[in-house]
């Protein structure tokens, strides 16, 4: 049975990764050709892993639901990627990046993994530059850095406001090279719907060809899940419309454990909700907080007038503005970490100082920076973000401050993995946002891109060999094997069941309802009564879904409604686990804020005594989960209260 041995190498923290690499098993070139690896996902994590494994000589099959691997959601990342290069000579190093990440995560991540992440961060930048990623440059031609939340150094590399796009195109180009060489085979417009386990090991997947609707069986000596985060359980989020938890949920139901599902990140700077028909929320990159100042009116009357459209931001005098982040957190100011900034915005709006027609917005103001640096500098730095804002809101942010509000953005929780990124199912790995590993209870800006590429380029290519070296005697299996047939049948029955409900309400209806429950009771502020209520409501909604959902169209054809239905069915189960985990964690830490546990000043009150562990949930049956705990031991770092004042 699965156990929570994280397989952390012995020895001092700074030497663990070297120690691991010195002693791990490798696979020789002739054997690599005989080994198949399935990778689900073509985002930064999946594409970089596939390219690297292909280059090494493994046979790789890679899957994505989009029409092209280049469209994975990583493409949308705006602000940047961290590394400990210390180019600006401001005192950065590997230890400091490691330290900031652990502290930023509110002491809920594993020291050994985070240290390794910081250690390989510099290799990522080298690799991406070699691939031709057009990072921003200084006049002398060297790489330029900017600062991001939760750090006092400038360690973020960027390509305008399109860093994710450029990094993904780099990984996609490396992947394309392997596709041409034939080491990797691409299955686009395919969705993984089930994991196949043979003799206790992950050996393949069942995928649906989204164009023909046909089910396919695929064998692999190992299977890698790199399918991104589950933020869309909230319906409205900054994630792409197709982002889903399904692959993770299927492997969870097959025995992989799900860690810390309640650690979700609400991003402070998003364009506020404006209507019922709204389908997604747009992020305004954290990098904007480098030059933008966040404020609300000091007087409730001004806020009210703004809500009614009687005055504009410009009409509020300087002395009547409350730059509440600068006031509350003078050391970090507008660059406090995301969870802190989000809660502070909510606090002001709840207290009646919110602006905009709904009152659920605060200002992000560039007036001072434009005066100081000139409009052209701001334009060069954030031009595309300003354009995006104007297209959506129909207001010019060079002239009026932006209005922003927090929105669901990222999920720190995910499939539990050990030091090798292996899940509790042998031969099954999880990478990128899909795993729980490095960000604890809160992720720092520009660290997800770093983690995705670290996992795919520099960690998995080593660790997977340690496993595959033991598989060289296993020949490719026929997919006529019983286990494959049964897995396919399970998927077919599930799809038939969905189609046969023939109810009256659309899939979107249920997704929106779920989103409302999640946002109200499991969002920025959580409490015991609310969480209990959420669980009840989700269960009822799930029952209703299976009685009353209407899916138009057929099975063996391109059918977006069926795709959505299958994802929403999983979210309806996952949402319950998320709420349950939040209910279990009787403390506030990072993105998880339990209203019962806060200091007099409204800051998070952690409970290290009882909750310094990773909550790894095990699936028993629908709506029944068992909690396992991986205790977190801090040997290198002194655990403190997280203070940004």
């Amino acid at each position: 049975m699965a156990d929570l041995n994280a397989k952390i190498p012995s020895g001092p923290l700074t030497g663990k990764w070297t120690q691991y690499k010195n002693h791990q098993n490798l696979v020789n070139p002739a054997n690599k050709r005989k080994l198949d690896v399935i990778i689900v996902g073509t985002g930064l994590a999946g594409a970089s892993a596939a390219a690297s494994l292909g280059e090494m000589g493994f046979n790789v099959k890679i899957f994505c639901y989009q029409d092209s691997p280049r469209r994975a959601h990583s493409i949308a990342a705006q602000g940047g990627i961290n590394a400990a290069k210390n180019y600006p000579n401001d005192g950065d190093n590997i230890y400091r990046l490691f330290y900031d990440t652990i502290k930023g995560g509110d002491y809920r991540s594993r020291e050994s993994n985070v240290y390794r992440l910081a250690e390989v961060s510099n290799n990522i930048i080298d690799q991406c530059v070699a691939q031709g990623v057009p990072f921003a440059r200084e006049y002398g031609g060297s790489l330029e850095n900017r600062s991001f939340g939760g750090a006092q150094v400038s360690r973020t590399f960027f390509a305008r406001g399109q860093t994710g796009q450029q990094l993904l195109l780099g990984a996609y180009s490396a992947l394309s090279r392997q596709l041409k060489m034939g080491t990797v085979k691409l299955f686009n417009r395919h969705e993984m719907l089930e994991l196949v386990i043979v003799d206790g090991k992950a050996r393949g997947i069942i995928a649906r060809d989204l164009v023909t609707g046909k089910l396919e069986r695929h064998f692999g000596h190992a299977v890698v899940i790199a399918t991104g985060g589950y933020g869309n359980v909230f319906y409205l989020s900054t994630n792409a419309m197709g982002s889903n938890v399904s692959a993770c949920w299927q492997v969870f139901k097959k025995g992989a454990w799900f860690a810390n599902p309640c650690f979700t990140q609400i991003h402070p700077t998003c364009i506020p909700v404006h209507g019922d028909y709204q389908s997604k929320l747009t992020l305004m990159s954290e990098s904007l907080r480098n030059d933008g100042r966040i404020w609300v009116p000091k007087n409730k009357e001004d806020a009210e007038k703004h809500r009614k459209g009687l005055i504009k931001a410009k009409d509020i005098r300087e002395e009547d503005r409350d730059y509440y982040l600068e006031r509350r957190y003078p050391a970090y100011g507008n660059l406090v970490p995301r969870d802190v900034a989000s809660r502070a915005a909510k606090e002001r709006c709840d207290a009646g100082y919110g602006v905009g027609s709904t009152g659920l917005a605060v200002f992000l103001d560039f007036e001072e920076s434009i005066k100081r640096l000139g409009r052209h500098v701001i334009e060069e730095r954030y031009g595309n973000l300003f354009q995006m804002y104007e297209k959506i809101v129909d207001e010019n942010p060079y002239e009026n401050p932006m209005m922003i509000y927090p929105a669901v953005h990222y999920t720190m929780g995910g499939i539990w993995v050990d030091y090798e990124l292996m899940t509790t199912i042998p031969g099954l790995y999880a990478l990128g946002e899909a795993n729980y590993s490095d960000h604890g209870a809160n992720r720092l800006g520009a660290s997800a891109l770093m983690q995705g590429l670290a996992d795919g380029y520099f960690v998995l290519p080593y660790t997977i060999q340690n496993y595959l070296s033991g598989e060289i005697r296993i020949p490719r299996m026929s997919t006529d094997k019983n286990e494959f047939v049964e897995a396919e049948n399970t998927v077919r029955e599930r799809i038939n069941k969905l189609m046969s409900v023939k109810g009256t309400k659309s899939v979107d209806h249920f997704h929106k309802e779920l989103g409302k429950i999640m946002w109200e009771f499991v969002g920025m502020g959580r409490n015991e009564a609310g969480l209990k209520k959420a669980i009840e409501l989700i269960r009822a909604l799930r029952t209703e879904f299976w009685k009353d959902v209407r899916i138009t169209g057929g099975i063996e054809e391109l059918n977006p409604e069926l795709e959505k239905a299958s994802r929403v069915a999983d979210f309806l189960e996952m949402g319950e686990l998320l709420a349950l985990d939040a209910l279990n964690r009787n403390e506030s830490c990072g993105g998880h804020f339990r209203e019962e546990y806060q200091t007099n000043e409204g800051e998070c009150l952690r409970n290290d005594q009882d909750f310094m562990y990773v909550a790894a949930w095990e699936f028993l049956k629908e709506g029944e989960f068992k909690l396992n705990k991986e205790p977190l031991k801090y040997e290198e770092i002194e655990v403190k209260q997280r203070i940004y004042k």
């Binding site: 493409i75 690799q127 070699a130 399109q162 796009q165 180009s173 389908s279 747009t282 979107d508 409604e561």
Partner: protein
């Protein structure tokens, strides 16, 4: 707003398609174009009719998935944006809106408004990369790039691969797309060694896949949501000629 929609419906690649007319009522001008289609689909589902299939994912103008040909223009009437960033305030109450898929031989229709753009991936696979393996890359700051070239390279690299350029071109030429990738690398010191090979192979694949020639009308540039400049085409032509003569 009240709208009449004429939308291309086609069951699959092999069936014949046709326009179907729908009418919609009380659409908010602040609603995005795709949200307007969501509302239409919600109504169709309620009537137990099959909704309209269209491609989309990020809904913020970066993934390049959305691809609607609206009133005769790729991505619709507004400049420098994708379909998903288009808002209904760009239309008037009572308007009739014609919505079609990209029309180009190398982009066959998959269903309704969804087309297959795998041809773009195939062109990239011919050489749209720098041949470096993972690991062993040199220290990043050993490669210096002038700020000017880095910016120009980024201008070209900003292409989202949506295919609007092809849809806009009367010859279904992919020159803007291919030249953007060629320029992205040509402006950087990395990958110089394989530059000639790259441009030759990518152009050959573009021709082989049935994309047309460029006859200098530059509808591609005018319709590009990311403002990719036609100067990239000139740069690619130079690269191509150099590669051929040497």
């Amino acid at each position: 707003m009240k709208l009449t929609l004429k939308i291309w419906k086609q069951q699959d690649a092999h069936s014949k398609g046709k326009f179907v007319t729908y009418s919609l009522d009380s659409i908010s001008p602040n609603c995005s174009f795709l949200e307007m289609l969501d509302i239409l689909n919600e109504q169709l589902i309620r009537k137990n009719e099959e909704p309209v299939a269209f491609d989309h994912d990020c809904r913020e103008g970066i993934c390049g998935t959305c691809s609607l040909y609206i009133n005769g223009r790729p991505h619709g009437p507004d400049d420098a944006i994708t379909t998903c960033q288009l808002h209904m305030r760009k239309f008037k109450d009572g308007d009739t809106i014609i919505i079609e898929p990209w029309r180009a031989k190398p982009f066959p229709v998959v269903k309704d408004l969804i087309v297959d753009r795998a041809a773009f991936d195939k062109i990239i696979q011919e050489g749209g990369y720098i041949s470096v393996n993972t690991g062993g890359a040199a220290e990043a700051n050993q490669i210096l790039v002038s700020k000017v070239n880095a910016e120009l390279s980024m201008d070209a690299a900003a292409c989202i691969g949506c295919g609007a350029c092809v849809a806009a071109c009367k010859n279904a030429s992919a020159m803007l797309f291919v030249s953007a990738k060629v320029s992205h690398f040509a402006l950087l010191p990395q990958g110089k060694i394989e530059a000639k090979d790259r441009v030759k192979k990518m152009v050959a694949m573009m021709d082989q896949l049935g994309f047309g020639n460029c006859t200098n009308t530059y509808a591609c540039e005018a319709e590009c949501p990311k403002l990719i400049s036609r100067s990239n085409i000139a740069r690619m032509n130079r690269e191509f000629i150099c590669a051929k003569v040497s």
